[in-house]
Symmetry: D3
Subunit: 237 residues, 6 copies
C-alpha cells in the first residue's frame, strides 16, 4: 500500500485516454475487476484523473449517527475532505445505498476549492442540479435528498475500501470519463498509461478509417497494410 | 387522516426550500422514511408542491384489466384524475413495475389543464419525450411503452398508499425538485416548512462562504463567528 | 422463422407511430411481452425501424474469450456486423450485464456506414458520448468501459435470442423511439402497422382536444361526438 | 367481486390436485399470472385450500405505526384475523419486505384455532420454528425478527390486493402445496377444479409408465395407445 | 467502542429470549435497524449468544488476493480467528456476495475448538453439509464452492463493520435463533436482556391462552384480567 | 468444442472430491467463473458427476410457445432428453426465471430411467417434493408451478449455453455436491480431477488435526512438520 511517485507524463497521458482503453489494458494484464459499474457522471463532458483518498462508511446506528457527532472536525468524512490535496480524488464506500445522500454542494464546492480532481461515490448526492452546474467531476449513483446519518456512519479514511465491488486502495489512480470510472492499481499506472496512450491513438485512426468506409476485418485489429498506413498517419501528427 | 388547513405562507415557503432540507428536518423529528427513492424528474428544472390525491393499482388479471373496463368513467384512475383540484398532486402506487406505463401524454395534459401541481408515479410513463416538453412536474421510474392493463389494475383512490416504500396519505404534502420527491405528513407541514426555510437560507450563505474558500469546520455547522456573519448577511437581504 | 416480404407502406407507417401504440395493438392481439424493458435510448430524438439480425453472447470463459479469438473474421460478432444490410437492426443478447461493453464506436460507426437502421443491446456500450453524437439509433442499458471478453463470448448469429426477456427472431421488426424498443413478430407486422397508424392519428387528435380543455371521459376513448369531430378533422389533413 | 357459492365437490377436488396442474389449466384459459412466486412453504407436507380473506399493509410511518395503534381491536390486522371463518385463508400484502415480520405464533395459533385453512404472506414471519411445528399451512418469504411496525402499517382488509405481483380478490380460492401457492379467480374455480382433477389423474398414470421405462414421446401427451391403456387403468381404480 | 463488562445474568437471559423479542425491545428504544436480514441458520435448532469479533473483507484484486498472501499468519482472517476467545462470535462483512465462500469446515471447526459461540457471515460458506452437522451455530447466506480470493480480500479485524446493512461494533452482542440474528449495541445489552426476558415470559403465557381458544383482543396485549391471570401463572412457575 | 475421451479414473476421482476443491483448482489455473451460483440441491446428500448435454430456452412468445408445439417429439427439450445417454447431465439455460417451471417429475423420472447422472436448471421445477424423493441429483433455483410455455421456449440443444452466468459447453464435466455445481472445461478435467483428489485428501487430514485442537497456522496450509505427518498418515490408509 505504498504510493511510489508516478513517472513524469503519466498523468498527462491519462488525461487523453479513454477509460475503455484503460480497462482493456488492465484486462490484458490479468486485472478483470477495475471498472466501477453502476455510477453516473454528473458532468459527462469532464474528465477526471487523480489519486485516491478513500472514505469508508458503515451502516448508521441511531445513537452514533447523530448530527452532533457527524459535524465534529475529526469525523472521518470531514477529516478526509479537509486532508485532500490538489489533484486527488475522494472515493467513498457508500454501499450502493440509493435512499440517502453522502453529501451535497457544500462538500463538493469545498473539494473544488481545494483543487481536488473529483469525487466518486458508490451512493447518492443531494443538490444534484447544483453539482451538475459546478464544472467539477463527480460520479455517483444518482440524486437523493435524505441526510447521510439516515443510513451511513463514517468510520475511517485512507483505508482500503470496496467501491462498486472494486477494491480501491489509497494512492490508486482513478480515471473517469463519460463511460464511467476505472481504478488503476498504483504500481501499474505508468505502464498502463503508456500502453493505453498508444492503443488509444491507434483506435482514433481506426475510427476514421471505419467512418470512411473500411470494413472491420483488416482494419481492427489492423493487418499489415492498415498498420503501415497508421504508422504513416502517425508520423504526420 | 384528516386534512386540516395549512398555515398561510406554508406552500410559499415550500416552493423555496430544497427537498434535501425537508428530509433533514423530518429526520430530526424522527421521520426516517419520507423520501421516494428510485424516481426520475422528467423536468428537473421545475419544482413541485401540492397535496396528495392517491391512486392505487394492483396486479392485472386478464378478465378484469380489459380496455372496456379501464375506460369506464368510474374506473378509479379516470375518476381520480377528473377529481384532482388545482394545486394537488396525483400520487400513484405503481408497485415499481418498469415493464408497463401507467399512462402518457393524454393524462398528463389533462392534469396540467386541470391546474394540478404535478404527478408522481412509482412506475413508468409512455410518451416520455412529450411529457418532458410539457413544462409540468412529473416524477416516474422511466419510460415504458406497454399499456397499463398489461400489468396494472386501478382499484381505489384517495386511500393510504405505499409509493416507493413510503406511506402517502391523501392530503399529505408532496414536494419535488431535482433531487427527487419528499412526502411531508400533513400535520407536520407548517412546522417543517418554517424550520426548513430557515435552514435553507443558512445553507445558501454557507455555500457562498465555502465557494469563497472557507473550510467546512467552523462554517458548517456555523460556529459563533460564522453565525454572526450570517445574521449580518441576513439583515442585508 | 421465415421472413416473408412486408407489404408496401408498412415500414413508412412504422416510422410514424409510437412504440406505445404498437405495444398496445400487440397486446390486443394477445402478445403481452414485446417491449424491451430496461434500455436507454442513446439518441432519444431519433426513431428506429428495421428487421432484426440477431447476435448471441454466452458467458466468457478464460480460454475461449481471448483477444485472438474475438478478432477472427468469422467470430460471430464480426460476421454478424459485416453481414448486416441497409435497413436492418443488429439485436444483441447481452444478458443484462452492466459490467462490460459489447462494443463501441468502431462497431457503431461500421453499422452506420453499412446503412443499418440501428443497434439494440441488452447490455452496455463503450464510447458512450461518441455514440450519442453519431446520429445513429442505439439502445443499450448504459455505458461501460471493460472489453467484451471480460464477460461475454459470441457464439452464434441469426438464431432466436432473448433480449430483455423478449423473444427476438431473425426477421422480426424492431421499432424504437424515446419510450424504448418494441419487437413485432414478423408475420404480424403489416397488420399492426396499419392498425397502429390509425390509432396513433386518433390519439394525436385526442391530445389536442385535451390540451384545449376537454375532459378525458368522452374524449378518450372517443364517444360518438368526438369520433365525428375526429373524422371531420381527419378529412382536413 | 361477488363470491358465488362453489359447486359441491370443488374443494374436495382441489385437495387432490397439484398446484402445477392448476396453473397449467389456468394458463390454458388465458390466465398467465396466478402463481405467487417467491414464497416458501413452512410445512411443505401440508396442502392448503380455502377462500381468500385479504389484508393490506402499506409502509409504516413513525407517528402511525405505534404499538398503541396496532393493538387496538379494530386495527385492520386484528379485525381481519378475528373475522376469519373456518376454511378461509388469510392472504397478506406484505410488499415483499424481508426485514420485518408480519406476525408470529400468536396470530398463527389464533388462525389455527379459528379453523382457517392457512395463511399466505408476501413478507416474513417471526417464531419460524414454532410455526413450522404447528401443523398449519403457512407460506411466507422466510423468517424475520423485527416487529411489523418497523416497516408495515395495516390499513384495510377484504379489498383487492397484490400478493407476489398476483391479484388476489376476497373470495378467490388459494391452493398451496410444496410447489407454492396458486390463486384461482373465484368464478373459474369449479371448472378449473374439474379439469385439473382429470389432468392430474392422467399425469399420475403417465409418471408410472415413465418409471416403468416408457419414453416421453407417445406417453405424454398420450397417443392413442397410451390413452387406451389409461382408460383401462382408470376403470380398475 | 469500549466494551464495559455485562451485568451478571445478562448472557443467561439472552440464552432464553427470542430474537423477535429482542428486536421489538430495541425498536421501542428507537433502534430500528438491528436485524441481520438475508441470513440462513445452518443449525436452526441451536441458539447463539456472544460478543462480536469483527472481520472486514473488501473486493479482491488479482495481485493481492493470492493464496500466498491469504495464508500468512497475520492475514486478518487468520489473525481474527486465532484471536477469538471462548464465548465470542466472529462476524464477517462479506458484502452479500453469493458467488464465493468466506471459508469452510477448517475454519468453523477451529472456531468450535476455540470455544467461540458462533459465526455470522454476510456471504457464503463451503462444506455446507459438514458445517450443518457440526453442532456449531453458523449463519450465512448459503453455500458456495469458490475460494474466497475469487471475490474477497481481508484487510482488517475488530473494526466497525456493516453486516447485512446493520452496524456491528466489536463488543456488540449478537444473538441468533431460528428467526435469524440480532445485533445489540453493547451499552444497551443489560437493559434489553432484562426487559426482553419479561416480555418473552408474558408471550409464552399468551401463546398458551391463544392455543386454548382465547381471542387475540384482550389477550395480547393483555387487558387487566389477562394480566392478573399471567401474574398468578407466573408465581406458580 | 470437441469432446476427447477422459482418462481412466477421472470420473471416479471426481466422485470423491468436493466442488469447493474443484473450483479452487480451477481458480489456480486462471478459471474464475466455474461455479453455478444461485442453485439449490434438491437432494443435497447425493453427488453428481457427468458430461453436459445442454438445452437452450429463450423467452416465450404466445404464437410459438403452444402446448401443441412443445409436445412434438422434435421439440428441443424432448429431443435433448431422449438423446441423453447414461452418465450424462442435462444442463438447462433457464435464464434465472423463478415464475415458471422447466419441467417436473415426468421428465426427471425419464432422465433417471435413462441412467443419466443428473439435471441442472438455471430456473425452477414443478413437483418439487416428488423430485426430492426421487434419489436423483437435481439442482434448480427452487419450486414453481406454472408450465414452461408461460415463460420459456426451447430452441436448441447441445449448443454452448450460459447457465447461472457460467459458460457450459456440450461435453464439459459437471460436478455437484451440497455446496452446488461446478462446470469443468472438458480439456482440463483429467488434470483438475487428479490435483483435486490430492488436495481433498490433504484437507481431510487437516480437518482431523483441527478437530483435535491444532491451530490453523502451521496446519493449513501445512508446514513441513504437518506435511510429514500427513505423508505418514497417508501411507497408513
Amino acid at each position: 500500500m505504498t504510493t511510489p511517485p508516478l513517472a513524469q507524463g503519466t498523468l498527462d497521458r491519462l488525461q487523453r485516454v479513454a477509460t475503455a482503453t484503460l480497462s482493456t489494458q488492465l484486462f490484458k494484464l490479468g486485472f478483470r475487476n477495475t471498472y466501477l459499474s453502476g455510477l453516473r457522471a454528473l458532468s459527462p463532458g469532464l474528465r477526471m484523473v487523480g489519486e485516491a483518498v478513500t472514505l469508508r462508511f458503515v451502516p448508521a446506528r441511531e445513537d452514533l449517527a447523530t448530527f452532533e457527532h457527524i459535524t465534529k472536525p475529526d469525523y472521518p468524512q470531514r477529516a478526509a475532505i479537509e486532508a485532500c490535496k490538489p489533484g486527488q480524488v475522494l472515493v467513498v464506500e457508500g454501499r450502493a445505498i440509493e435512499a440517502a445522500a453522502i453529501g451535497g454542494d457544500i462538500y463538493m464546492n469545498r473539494l473544488k476549492v481545494l483543487g481536488t480532481a473529483g469525487c466518486v461515490v458508490d451512493g447518492c448526492v443531494r443538490d444534484f442540479a447544483s453539482i451538475q452546474a459546478l464544472e467539477f467531476p463527480v460520479y455517483a449513483r444518482g440524486p437523493a435528498s435524505p441526510p447521510h446519518p439516515a443510513r451511513h456512519l463514517a468510520v475511517a479514511w485512507n483505508v482500503p475500501i470496496g467501491c462498486c465491488e472494486v477494491l480501491v486502495m489509497p494512492g490508486d489512480i482513478l480515471v473517469g470519463d463519460a463511460d464511467g470510472v476505472v481504478c488503476i492499481p498504483r504500481h501499474l499506472t505508468d505502464d498502463v498509461a503508456r500502453s493505453s496512450a498508444d492503443l488509444d491513438e491507434l483506435e482514433s485512426f481506426v475510427v476514421e478509417k471505419i467512418k470512411a468506409g473500411a470494413a472491420v476485418p483488416g482494419t481492427y485489429p489492423p493487418d499489415e497494410k492498415t498498420r503501415a498506413e497508421y504508422e504513416a498517419w502517425r508520423k504526420k501528427l
